[in-house]
């Protein structure tokens, strides 16, 4: 059942480019949707339009089957958690959580009951009499969450709620959020610029760039089957290697001292692009390295720097034309800086994109349509 629906939603300011353009997302009840993208991609604006904090320039937003375009935030049955938590500094945590209920005119006893119950669920009962200034970052985050939960809204909106936390707390809280969502199954829209959060939290991930939705899909599909170069490059660490080159007959890609033959099943789709400029995309973990002697036919590159990461390591390579590549290899791989290595591409995992930042993925079967 569709719970939140964005139809052709746009946001533009007079005399400026569109901040959000033609966004269409249908969110199911209980679904956890993550909007991800670089800063300025329009993800926060989209969330704020759902919240009612920004006017909707065009299109409609429905919550629970009701168009909410002209409803004030309080009537949209939503609650929001802000990046800086936005707790009222002059109120105790209890008062912070009770504020919305009080404005709604609920009875004191009812409010106290609800606040205590929520505080108990997320383990902040002992903080209720304190003011936000007396709390640590993690505690404030919890109170902000509690303030949203106590209203039992139809939809939770999160605007980068974890980015003010230190790395360890962020991971912990992420897991906590996932647990809570599993328990209460409240529809959630979550904005982040952190791809890791997007991948771990989202039932589906919406990748946005320059005000447009690039792809809407479950995390692994986004990772393995990116619809365009932007999505491919945005997700994954280190980011995907992109190599400019040409597609020759027989699915042979060549460019920047790198060449590989693409798998046969893709040739049909690539046919019309033979002879044109394309961009090869290969993730760092999809290149194997070998001694050049063992693979005289493979392209080679020189190892510049090795960054050991424990169980894996990143190798920074330069091809014969001076082009730079990154390869992630098992830590056991015995290579040292200055050596020449042969590059063995896992061609089944390689993608070809049209030129340009948002170039479409040519290797993908056309079921998923690139929006760009």
């Amino acid at each position: 059942m569709t719970h939140v629906s964005l139809k052709k939603v746009e946001k533009f300011y007079a005399g400026a480019v569109k901040a959000v353009e033609d966004v269409n997302i249908d969110i199911q009840k209980g679904e956890f949707i993550v909007l991800v993208g670089p800063s300025g991609c329009g993800k926060s604006t989209t969330l704020r339009m759902v919240a009612g904090l920004e006017d909707i320039s065009a299109g409609t937003i429905e919550i629970n089957g009701k168009v909410v375009n002209d409803l004030p935030p309080k009537d949209r049955d939503i609650a929001m958690v802000f990046q800086n938590y936005a707790l009222y500094p002059h109120m105790t945590c209890f008062e912070n959580m009770a504020f919305a209920l009080k404005l709604k005119g609920e009875s004191k006893a009812e409010i106290a009951k609800k606040v205590k119950a929520t505080a108990d669920t997320i383990g902040i009962l002992h903080l209720l009499e304190r003011k936000p200034g007396q709390l640590s970052g993690g505690q404030r985050q919890r109170v902000a969450l509690g303030r949203a939960m106590v209203r039992q809204p139809a939809v939770f909106l999160f605007d980068e709620p974890l980015s003010n936390l230190d790395a360890r707390l962020r991971v912990e809280t992420r897991a906590e959020l996932k647990r809570l969502h599993a328990k209460f199954a409240t529809t959630t829209i979550y904005v982040t610029h952190d791809q890791e959060e997007a991948m771990t939290l989202g039932d589906r991930v919406v990748v946005m760039s320059m005000g447009k939705v690039q792809q809407v899909a479950p995390p692994l599909e986004i990772f393995h089957r990116p619809v365009n170069r932007f999505v491919a490059g945005f997700l994954g660490t280190p980011p995907m290697n992109f190599v400019q080159g040409k597609l020759a007959a027989g699915g042979l890609f060549e460019g920047e001292g790198v060449f590989l033959r693409l798998p046969e099943e893709t040739l049909g789709r690539l046919g019309e692009h033979v002879g044109t400029s394309v961009v090869l995309g290969v993730r760092p973990d999809h290149i194997d390295l070998a001694p050049p002697v063992a693979h005289p036919d493979a392209p080679t590159a020189r190892v510049d720097i090795i960054e050991p990461l424990g169980s894996t390591m990143d190798l920074y390579l330069t091809t014969s034309t001076g082009y730079r590549l990154v390869v992630r290899a098992p830590a056991t791989l015995d290579r040292s800086a200055g050596e020449q290595v042969a590059l063995l591409f896992r061609s089944a995992r390689a993608h070809l994109f049209e030129p340009g930042v948002h170039g479409a993925n040519l290797t993908l079967e056309q079921t998923a349509v690139a929006v760009a």
């Binding site: 300011y13 009612g52 006017d55 002209d70 004030p72 935030p73």
Partner: protein, 292 residues
């Protein structure tokens, strides 16, 4: 519930000030301009007389005298007060012990109601038994008659103004405390001595504050009134040496009931202060470093 252009709420919240600024600022300013072209006594409706008031004003020796007095006072008090407050602030900005106590001592005089401090200084400047001249005599100086001497009356009021320099000092001190320590440390490493640090680090860095105090000092100095009114009962004695511009304006308007003429004086004052502000702002653009 528009959050991008909420004209309704904008106007609701601004309305008191919109009304207030029109009624208590805009209208009086415009009315003053109109009255300045009339013969107006408040008791009777104004009678239009063209530029007569201005013609008379430009030939009015008393007005010139009062303007001269005011300019002397404004420059004298700005220079002396600015210097005093800056020196005090520089001395206090040394992370010394007892800074709060010193600051309180220097600041207190600026808090005193002008009427009270004027009476106090009259008493201190007074005749032969005045405490100031007694103190001067103790170190072998034969003090002047101060407020009774046309040569010295303005200086007396300027000195009194410097006594109230604590307000500017607090502003300077805040500016000085904003100068990053790393800047001084860098200067020391570069081999700058005390004076070089003062002229190449401290003063340039607090230049916006200096200009702010300068501007406020001038605007305030041109409106000097209460001291002279209290000390001379409004006459500007002796020999009109403390007849300041606003004092003369008050006398013309509220004693002689020549409100039209007073308004002409008022508008000339407004233009002077306006031009002065523009000049100071210009200068500040050239000399002040705002990039921090």
């Amino acid at each position: 519930m528009s959050t991008q252009n909420d004209l309704k709420n904008g106007l609701i919240f601004s309305s008191p000030w919109l009304i207030g600024s029109v009624v208590f600022l805009g209208y009086p300013l415009a009315a003053a301009l109109y009255y300045s072209f009339t013969d107006y006594s408040v008791l009777l409706p104004p009678v239009f007389v063209g530029v007569e008031n201005y013609i008379e004003l430009f030939q009015d020796e008393l007005a010139y005298k009062s303007l001269y007095n005011t300019v002397v006072f404004a420059f004298g008090s700005v220079v002396l007060s600015l210097f005093t407050s800056l020196v005090l602030a520089l001395l206090l900005n040394n992370q010394i012990r007892g800074i709060t106590l010193y600051r309180t001592v220097f600041f207190l005089p600026s808090l005193m109601p002008m009427v009270a401090s004027s009476i106090l200084w009259m008493w201190m400047y007074s005749g032969e038994g005045g405490i100031i001249n007694t103190a001067l005599a103790a170190v072998g100086i034969d003090g002047p008659a101060w407020l009774a001497d046309p040569q010295w009356a303005k200086s007396a009021i300027i000195i009194m103004a410097a006594w109230g320099a604590g307000h500017a000092m607090v502003i300077f001190l805040a500016g000085l405390q904003d100068v990053p320590t790393s800047l001084y440390e860098a200067a020391i490493i570069d081999g700058a001595g005390f004076w070089q640090r003062l002229f190449h680090v401290t003063l340039p860095t607090i230049s916006p504050v200096i200009f702010f105090n300068l501007l406020m000092g001038f605007i305030g100095g041109f409106q000097v009134f209460t001291q002279a009114f209290v000390m001379t009962g409004g006459s500007g004695a002796p020999e009109q040496s403390t007849l300041f511009y606003v004092l003369q304006l008050y006398n013309v308007g509220f004693n002689d009931l020549r409100m039209g003429y007073a308004c002409a004086m008022a508008w000339v004052l407004f233009i002077i202060i306006f031009c002065l502000t523009m000049v100071v702002m210009r200068l500040s653009k050239r000399f002040v470093s705002y990039d921090r």
